[in-house]
Symmetry: C3
Subunit: 674 residues, 3 copies
């Protein structure tokens, strides 16, 4: 573990916003809450380097010593997400430019272009200063590079960087013209100088240009990250380095690709909804983080902070108010702990918050905090103290890996490609389709690991591929050999349509998987938001439907009305030693859950906790000779759950049945046979 | 006819996107589908002229020869709608600029300013090259200039062009100041350099400036077209020249004015809705095209490709998926043929599609095609083959002109003027009002010809003027003398309000037509979208209402509630030898249809096919000594239609009553007395 | 009074849009309508100064003489809201720039940056010319500077002006850094050159930067105004000077602050809705104008045009069509007079309209007018003639001041601060909260005076503070000493949260008023638009709720469901000699009204006209030894109102009970004891 055998617990700490007298009070409160780790310095650049090249680190020395004296470890941040005003004034060419060509101004955070040489040089300089000073500080547990890489730019530096990246990818212009299908609309490029970022243009842009720009930009941001990582590693190779992922469809980052370059995957998670949806979002985000971590572990070269291949860290979450468009929503009493433990259950090395102390001013002055505006005499702080104790009591479970028998495909590039304009519908996106499949599995009680095309699949009896729009030949082979070897596969619509350059695979959809699925889709029939198309078997489909021809597969459900009446909607195909299912519409929630239950059963997969009542979530962690069962009662009344073992939070023994109060969590150390 | 006595049938063909081996397969498939005409080269500039001045036409030679050998004629396009990347790099001043001043970038199509001298020169050059090489190629049937002229620009070239155009129109600044009412808001211009395009400004723009800009820009685009036409004509005066109109309120083109300059009006038509609305949109678009064609014929100077004054061509349509905001909709099985024949019935010389073969990549990769991604083994291609046969069997009907007794006014400038900001409502537009009147007539079974103010009216017993907002003195005279001479007239709200410079005609609305209508409107009462105002007689009005004073007219319907209760809503006035009706609100659909039925009856006009059941559309074409009756069953069950003659599609004789299956079309050659 | 013992009545008159022959007709019609005052020259700059420095005033001489001969007084405008095209061409740096950096173009009105030196110089020049020529013209009653100051700019001139203003406010950068909390997100400024206007930036802007920019800009516009005022005053100190306020959340003007610099507060008022809401909006706008006037009177240094501290003037309103988004709405017959008299009742010195004669062209060609497009033979003009007579008959009531026992806090800066991004909800705004409280009081029959923090409160038994988000220490003291001295106070949510720099007052909300209210709010619970949270007592709350802890206060209502069930929602606290109430949610309309009725009763305040039936509005004006009672029947049937006196409009005597017909107004001179 990162912090001396304890789970990480704490949050972003911004002492530069407060006078020194508050610092001592903070450390005392942190000790009261059993905080183990705080992130320091994320937005401190203008305090650390008040003028170009002139650094003032005395206050940070004092803060780190104070924390160290209090027994609190530090994730020390490089402050490069928010360059000081002096930087922007000196380097106007490093301010970001929108797709419309608007040069943005200082006045917020992230006011830089990651491709601008001046920015990169300034970022390396301040990182070097911090590395030199603190790489061996005893409080240092982790380097936290930057914050939420997530901005884009269309300035001339981005144009130049894009061209360099395209040369690497496509070799020459002939390769680029072929990959981008520039024969459409007379876009044949004859000189690299003609190529640029997809700025505002007259009508629909070239979709492969847009896709490649997102790929390039993810790599450009990653280069900005690895530059800093190398400086930090050079100063002390033993300290792990990470950066916190921000989640969202708009994020220009391939999180899986990045997982290969971080020593510990870290995510920020703010559910966009209250109610049951927040639980679903939490489970999905945590599973994604674990999937990225596992993907990274296949490729990792740096220090391994813990020895568990699926370890990651919840780096930011909100104790209370969470921003949603137009209005913040409240995290109800008790939910802070339940959500934090749900992340820990799914592999997080702890639970961190943004932020320790609510700020007095600035742009996010109502962002919630462990010490709110009302001060420590508050529900939130009391719950924070309680959570600190809970995390101590369950720390042993960190040794276990999550036991997930279902793999769900996730692919950043497919997500980007399905955001292009000019598709048959703008209603379907890779991330939402992954979420829909994950939700159906979650509700049915099955644990799943997100996987990236190419990842090893030997541990998974079942692979689910929702809207995997892009599929290279290698991806098609990966799927084919999995099923040939006995794997069970479920593919849904808008998968395998195009190759890695977003070019249609001709001859009938889904070109990459027709043979495995034993079908041929001739036409798409997008549905309106109001359409519900009945299926044989009683359910309905929405959003999408297709003319599916059988080519070896057997029909499971058929469309029961409309122009597709009588045609297959869901099919099953024996292929090699495996079975391949196809779903051509989005089933309603109950049908989706029932279908996935059928498919998992056919694959020989059991739920995590058979017999758990509706609304109780279960996650099992296994280590050699040990297992722990996390149980979450998301309902508003007590539930009986079949379980046996020692409940760590209360220290009680449970035999056969646990009575779990409304809204509560239990963590059982199961008997060795479990 | 254009293509050797056959109807035009085919679509856009883009061989430059495919390897040579596909070309031979294409020709074979075209022959299988009885394709007669394909459009080649629309987006081929970067392949035809890969570098400035260096042309590569060898592949096009090969394509044209291959098509010619297959008996397929060619509409050869000039590729000027999509300049190559090298052009934009060399001439950044020729990239378009938005009203906000954003200079757009290459990366789509249409990335040029039509007023930029460099663009115009480059367009003339490539047009000249094509004219020189292909003007006498035996496959050449038609020149297809450019594609869907429809972009605008606010760059300095546009400013300069606008000033030149304004000098021509208004003579001097005094004329401009008077026409634009610059005495309002202190906008008196004292130097031409002060005048520019209506770029983003602080608040409401001058409406006449906006109107004149749209007029100017239509003329600027037309000049770009005629420049090319002159080069093509000079190379071979026998080959007709056209360009394909794109339809929509946003289009900056006066299609009627342009009809004087094309040898054959051609439109692209993509209904924005599925269901019955698609049928209405099809009928309206086809009637508009015929109306523009007829208007053009009054002024035409070039070659006449067919000798029928109301001939035009459906240049693009979609076999299947049609883009609508947010989602494409499917053309259901059978509808492709029914819509194509509906266009032919209304005067199109055939049915062309965008596109022949679905592309593998590029911005419109899901735009549907006769050969879809699934290949020729597909419903769409089978329907295409079937349609080819149908078009052959009905070709004789092309000799007839459409027999339409009702004229409906259409005026591009009124459409633009009713899009200005600051009107009493932004809910009413000329095009939608024309569509509403057309729909009411269409549902009641009456055929109509769109006419442009000033067109001859002697063939029409009835003239309908919906929202003809602008009326010059000449237009007022045109209407007045029509009614004096015995014509029947129906005018609806927002007609005759302003003169040609969008200046109100004072003293009571509608200033241009008060005398003819025998009314005086004192006040407007715009309605909210939810308002329904009851009328005496049982119907309701929506969107709009008015305080109408009788000044000779008699009330037909009155408002039955609200502040206007008891006041006239619909009036009738005998004037000269004619009758003039006025409608001051939008009647609900049933009331609208009933009203137009009354008006047409009073004018002595009969439906095309009296006795045709609801949902069956009829169009009659007449030639000396012959007539053909097209019948369309838009319902989902068989219908009995009173008709007699030889049904051309099936070759059967019909006596008195035709049984028309659900969704089917019949084309009867009627007995000579018909 | 301004106009020879008569109420002001007339409107904007734009003779420059019409030929001379219309002028004489206008004066005759004005006399027919008993017009007393017209505003001339608002948009005449390009006619007054057709070329830089070359003025043409002959026509204006003629107009003023003609009006004077007709007995009509003139509010002479400086035309600086609409610079001529020649100005924009000569000074492109004086065209405004949006937050995105778009330089706007001429083509509308208000196309200038108020901070541009060239604009200010040109404005002073034309103002000086008018002052020299007309300061002693016998028709001149009032100077009307500019029109609706309301534009912003982000050009370099604005940057420079903003920096100057910030130096004045904050002294040095240390002060600015502290006030703006630049320690958040690394925004520490080390050089004034780094500071600029809040242009488009990457993410959330600094809220205090945005707030200070709005303060600065209000002051910059005010400086533009006072420059002109000084020139006009110097020419003739006896003529009062004003400018017409435009109302709306977007307006970058602190109207109260400006009231200190105008000799007569003047507003333009266009209700955004028809129906009863228009009446509420009218009452609020008129009360606000009177509150601003009263605030100004505490600070006024210039001439006092009338001797009544709460006098103001309705400078613009619409006789008929009023623009609302998407559609204009009609002012129903009779409502023009009723609304005008409602303004007069609340202290306006008369009723002015935009505009006298409807224009023939230009951007606002459908803006309604006293002489509409239809001409004087029209309902509107007939109602205008009638209104002229009514105003003559009630002129004596102008001597009275409005008798309002309730003060309602209004604060421009709180309004701006509550528009910032990143608040817990974007649904709550100061102006809307003031409107909600005003509406509840208005419906309950209580008159109220808007007051600005710091204003004397001795005349008011009750002070209501809705969403007074910002509270300086001085404001906190102002409130505290008011309650200590026996005042009754009602504070609602989002009040006293932050100091004048928008920095949170820590330790529990509302930091500025916790002691007086005897409560401590720990957490906010924003509600969705659909949420309705039940309260004990039967009502519901919406938009907002809070965790309220009692700290001396007693609960009045509690939340009755949800996570706050059982916690206080409304509280009451005895403090010093007074009582302080707190409301933590928005009550439904009935509950809000009942609550305010309880609070006003507890404060010993009676309704204006006890016994007036629902839907009848009453306003009382008092002068030494006299009072007048205005009664408005907003219902659609006759109402019995307890009242006694001489009804001035009809000249009848009323004893005990007045029968007021539907939609009618009565103005009673009450017996001396009244």
């Amino acid at each position: 573990m990162l912090v001396d055998g304890r789970l990480c617990y704490g949050g972003d700490y911004n002492p530069e916003q407060w006078p020194v007298e508050v610092w001592r009070q903070d450390v005392a409160l942190m000790r009261q809450a059993r905080v183990t780790l705080v992130t320091v310095g994320v937005f401190a650049w203008s305090r650390l380097e008040p003028a170009p090249g002139r650094c003032d680190l005395g206050w940070l020395d004092q803060v780190l010593d104070l924390l160290h004296d209090g027994g609190i470890r530090v994730a020390l941040a490089t402050p490069t997400a928010s360059p000081p005003p002096w930087f922007s004034l000196a380097h106007p060419d490093a301010l970001p430019v929108t797709a419309d060509g608007v040069r943005l101004r200082h006045g917020s955070r992230d006011t830089y272009c990651a491709a601008a040489p001046a920015y990169r040089a300034a970022a390396r300089r301040i990182t070097g200063v911090l590395a030199d000073r603190y790489a061996h500080h005893p409080a240092l547990a982790l380097w936290h590079v930057h914050n939420e890489y997530g901005t884009t730019c269309h300035c001339p530096h981005a144009d130049a960087g894009f061209r360099r990246w395209l040369r690497d990818r496509h070799g020459d212009l002939a390769g680029l013209n072929d990959a981008w299908t520039t024969s459409f609309w007379s876009q044949h490029y004859s000189d690299w100088a003609q190529v640029g970022t997809p700025r505002a243009t007259q009508y629909l842009p070239n979709p492969t240009q847009v896709l490649d720009f997102r790929r390039y930009w993810s790599d450009e941001l990653l280069a900005a990250y690895t530059e800093q990582r190398e400086l930090l590693r050079a100063a002390n190779p033993a300290v792990p380095v990470t950066t916190n992922y921000v989640l969202g469809d708009w994020v220009p980052v391939d999180h899986a690709r990045w997982a290969r370059e971080v020593d510990l995957v870290a995510i920020d998670h703010y559910p966009s909804a209250a109610g049951p949806e927040a639980e679903e979002q939490t489970a999905l985000a945590a599973d994604l983080a674990r999937g990225w971590a596992r993907h990274g572990a296949y490729h990792r070269t740096g220090p391994d902070p813990g020895g568990r291949p699926d370890a990651w860290l919840l780096m930011e979450s909100a104790p209370n108010l969470i921003y949603t468009p137009g209005r913040m929503h409240t995290r109800e009493p008790g939910r802070m702990a339940r959500h934090s433990l749900a992340h820990v259950a799914r592999g997080s090395r702890g639970a961190m918050y943004f932020q320790w102390r609510a700020p007095r001013g600035g742009a996010e002055l109502f962002h919630s905090a462990l010490v709110p505006h009302a001060g420590p005499d508050s529900r939130v702080f009391r719950e924070a103290v309680e959570l600190g104790g809970m995390l101590e009591r369950i720390a042993e479970a960190d040794a276990g890996t999550v036991d997930a028998p279902v793999a769900v495909g996730w692919d950043a590039a497919s997500g980007w490609a399905l955001q292009q304009r000019g598709l048959p519908t703008d209603r379907l996106h890779h991330h939402e389709e992954v979420a829909a499949a994950h939700r159906a599995l979650w509700r049915a009680g099955y644990a799943c690991d997100p996987v990236v095309p190419g990842d090893p699949l030997d541990r998974y009896p079942l692979l689910v591929l929702p809207a995997l729009y892009l599929a290279s030949d290698a991806t098609a082979d990966w799927v084919r050999s999995y099923v040939e070897g006995g794997g069970h596969l479920l593919v849904s619509y808008l998968s395998g349509i195009a190759d890695e350059h977003a070019r249609i695979r001709l001859g009938g959809y889904p070109g990459a998987f027709r043979d495995v699925l034993g079908i041929r889709v001739e036409e798409f029939h997008p549905l309106t938001d109001d359409d519900r198309i009945p299926l044989t078997g009683g359910g309905t489909g929405r959003f999408w439907s297709e003319t599916v021809h059988l080519a070896g597969a057997a029909p499971v459900h058929r469309y029961a009305a409309g122009v597709l009446a009588g045609r297959p909607a869901v099919t099953r195909h024996r292929y090699g030693d495996g079975v391949a299912w196809y779903v051509s519409t989005r089933p309603d929630a109950a049908t989706h859950r029932a279908l996935l239950t059928d498919v998992t059963r056919a694959a020989g997969v059991a739920p995590t906790c058979p017999g758990a009542p509706e609304g109780v979530e279960a996650v099992r962690r296994r280590a050699p000779g040990a297992s722990w069962l996390f149980l979450f009662n998301h309902t508003d009344r007590a539930q009986q759950v079949p379980a046996t073992g020692t409940e760590l939070l209360t220290g009680t023994m449970v035999e056969d049945v646990l009575t779990l109060p409304a809204g509560q969590v239990a963590v059982l150390r199961e008997p060795a046979a479990g």
